[in-house]
Symmetry: C2
Subunit: 431 residues, 2 copies
């Protein structure tokens, strides 16, 4: 396997190559990385980050492309399986930027000697990689990790690595989870606003119906027809009542709970979690620095011992065995220092690991609670709507009854009794 | 019976008297009225006009009072049953205005001579009265009139007499019926206006719901919860549709028919009837005038004959039998003229009578039709309201379904798949 840093101009360039970009566009390459290997199957099992897709080339080889960077100059680390630099060159078409390719492997591009390939295979045994001061396994020979909570798509299983946001800043997986919760609070606020707007509409409607019910149109209609008409007009006031009741319940049973079921403490709690986890990462950074410093110190001490031993052998200097013993002691000490630093680092990482699991599960629980609470409140909304329509229907009952009783004959009797002028009929005049 | 014209100051005055005011406050007294009688039972059967009530005095006598004129100086014709003027005087209390009482009877107030009472009883045989040139029966000895359409409170039975409106103008019974129909047209117009206002309210409501359904609140909610929320927002647009449909049907199935079911021809037809009946009354007025003229001419001729016959007997003049024959001939002629005039008058009255029956029955039919049509249209209104509430309910179904399907675990899976940063867990660093 060869490791290249390639600016990706167009995914069309990458026809026959196998690429893996583990952390979106840029794979942070820490000092000290020599090489790493990852077989194609492992590439599959680590699911591709957002925007990466896998394709089959005409030749039948699988390759992975970052589709979201088409046309940009992002750099990606390409892990080329079994391809030498020459084959890389051949694969790039004229639009490629092969000149920009630099190989991280000890061997420079162009070298394909079997001896080097053999050395490569030795280096392939490298099994871990530290990215942003967090140490992950890489080797296919390492026992495969089981998910902590299989089949649950749990937060504690999928947010270990950092990523880069569109501006290029580093964002921890935990940060992504936190942002999700804060966004959830924003969502409930916006839903409450929506309900508020509905309330306003209902109140306006009720006001209009109420006003209209008092207009004097056809108030002079009398009898059974007049009664039915009066009740019809009144029914608008009844409808207005129904809608006012609806809006009132919307406020108390939907809007208010949406606004208040995560109190102000919620944001404070989120900040607390944020700082706590961030602090643990910062500690990890400083402990990793200590490890690197100790490693360098050890290398220096070992080199010093080697030089001094060689000098003794060729009798280059008048260094005594005393000097060699001293050098050996310092070397041993440096080794102890390194062990201690690595220990502290591992403890720090474990601590962060535990907090990550605990806190991400809490965030997961909060999200389940949020979804269920909102589901509940929205069900309350539909219940109130059902109720309202039923109450509204019932306002028609008295109107229907009175319309049923409309009786032209009765109305005539009532009106004639009130307005008649005389029932004596004229008779012939006598002479 | 005595007939008095009494200014009525206070109904308290009229404790023990029986009054009948046949046409509200003023009973039009035509020339030639001598007296008329009406027994108490007949007073009952002609139902009291508006404002008139009957009371029982402490002595147990029934009396009728115009309660709406308390404190005014309306004049009424009082028919006092079996009370002489002296009893009238006794009955008025200090607040009365008995000085203003004038008796229409040949005997002046204060006179209670039996001889005069006997004359009164002779005059009581008067059986008809002509009011506003229409001749009505008054005597209790006349065969009682049966209603043309008993138990139906038909227009053709109760609008024979004229009345006075509040301004004092004469209004025919037919006019009252006509005004009722014109008012009915006004009623349907006002009802249509009311429906129009409802339509406007519905359109406003629909517009507001439709706008709100497109607001972007919580548009970023994803997964099953996001789907349910999106459907909830969409349901407002569905509700808007329902209300728009309602307003549209209100317009075509209620408002429009209310405006148009009596066409413009209606007012023309009413005018036609009005003029036709009024013309027949006018004709009656001129024919009545002819009768009065002929009656007077006959009286003159008769007087002339009488004088001439007397003169012959006392040999006062040298008039010959020839002159008497001439006078007798003229008298006979005048008698024939009178008969002819009375005949024409009676024909005219019969014609008017027939048209009154026909036309008032047509107006009655139109009123039944109006009431039934309006009943129908208002039932359509309530039907549309019922429909609307049901359609409105159904807009909640898809929302309920999606809320049912809200699944926090599924939403977590979807979100984690999209946003995860890496599932490789950290491992201890090697030395």
């Amino acid at each position: 396997m060869y490791v290249y840093i390639v600016p990706v101009k167009s995914f069309r360039c990458l026809k026959t190559l196998h690429f893996l970009n583990v952390h979106n566009e840029v794979f942070y390459v820490p000092q000290g990385l020599v090489s790493y290997s990852m077989p194609a199957e492992e590439i599959e099992s680590v699911s591709l980050p957002v925007g990466w897709k896998s394709y089959i080339s005409p030749e039948g080889r699988k390759y992975y492309v970052n589709t979201s960077t088409k046309g940009t100059t992002d750099v990606c680390i390409c892990v080329c399986q079994l391809h030498g630099a020459m084959e890389m060159e051949e694969s790039f078409d004229a639009e490629g930027s092969f000149d920009d390719v630099s190989c991280l492997s000890p061997q420079s591009p162009g070298s394909t000697s079997p001896a080097r390939r053999q050395n490569k295979e030795k280096e392939i045994k490298e099994t871990k990689i530290t990215i942003n001061c967090v140490t992950f396994p890489v080797s296919m020979s390492a026992p495969e990790q089981q998910l902590l909570k299989p089949s649950e798509w749990s937060y504690c299983d999928y947010f270990w690595a950092d990523k880069r946001d569109p501006q290029g800043a580093t964002v921890s997986g935990f940060e992504v989870l936190l942002q999700k919760q804060l966004k959830g609070k924003q969502m409930q606020k916006e839903m409450a606003e929506f309900i508020r707007e509905r309330i306003k509409i209902e109140e306006e409607y009720a006001k209009n119906l109420s006003k209209l019910s008092m207009f004097p149109m056809a108030a002079q209609e009398e009898g059974t027809l007049g009664e039915a008409w009066a009740q019809l007009k009144k029914s608008l006031a009844d409808e207005a009542e129904v809608h006012l009741k609806f809006s009132s319940k919307l406020q108390s049973e939907v809007e208010k709970p949406l606004l208040t079921f995560r109190g102000d403490n919620f944001k404070k709690d989120m900040k607390k979690y944020d700082h706590h986890i961030a602090d643990l990462r910062k500690q990890l950074v400083s402990r990793y620095a200590a490890v690197e410093k100790a490693r360098k110190a050890l290398a220096d001490r070992q080199k010093d011992l080697e030089v001094k031993t060689q000098q003794l052998e060729i009798k280059l200097s008048n260094k005594t065995e005393e000097d060699i013993k001293k050098a050996r002691r310092k070397s041993t000490q440096a080794g102890d220092d390194l062990m201690r630093c690595v220990d502290l680092y591992n403890q720090g990482q474990s601590k962060w690991f535990e907090e990550m699991v605990t806190t991400s599960l809490e965030l997961e629980r909060l999200e389940v609670e949020r979804v269920e609470t909102i589901q509940q409140l929205l069900r309350q909304y539909t219940t109130l709507r059902h109720e309202t329509d039923m109450f509204n229907q019932s306002t028609m009952e008295p109107v229907d009854q009175l319309l049923q009783s409309v009786d032209p004959a009765k109305d005539r009797e009532l009106w004639v009794k009130e307005h008649k002028t005389g029932d004596l009929r004229p008779v012939d005049m006598d002479i």
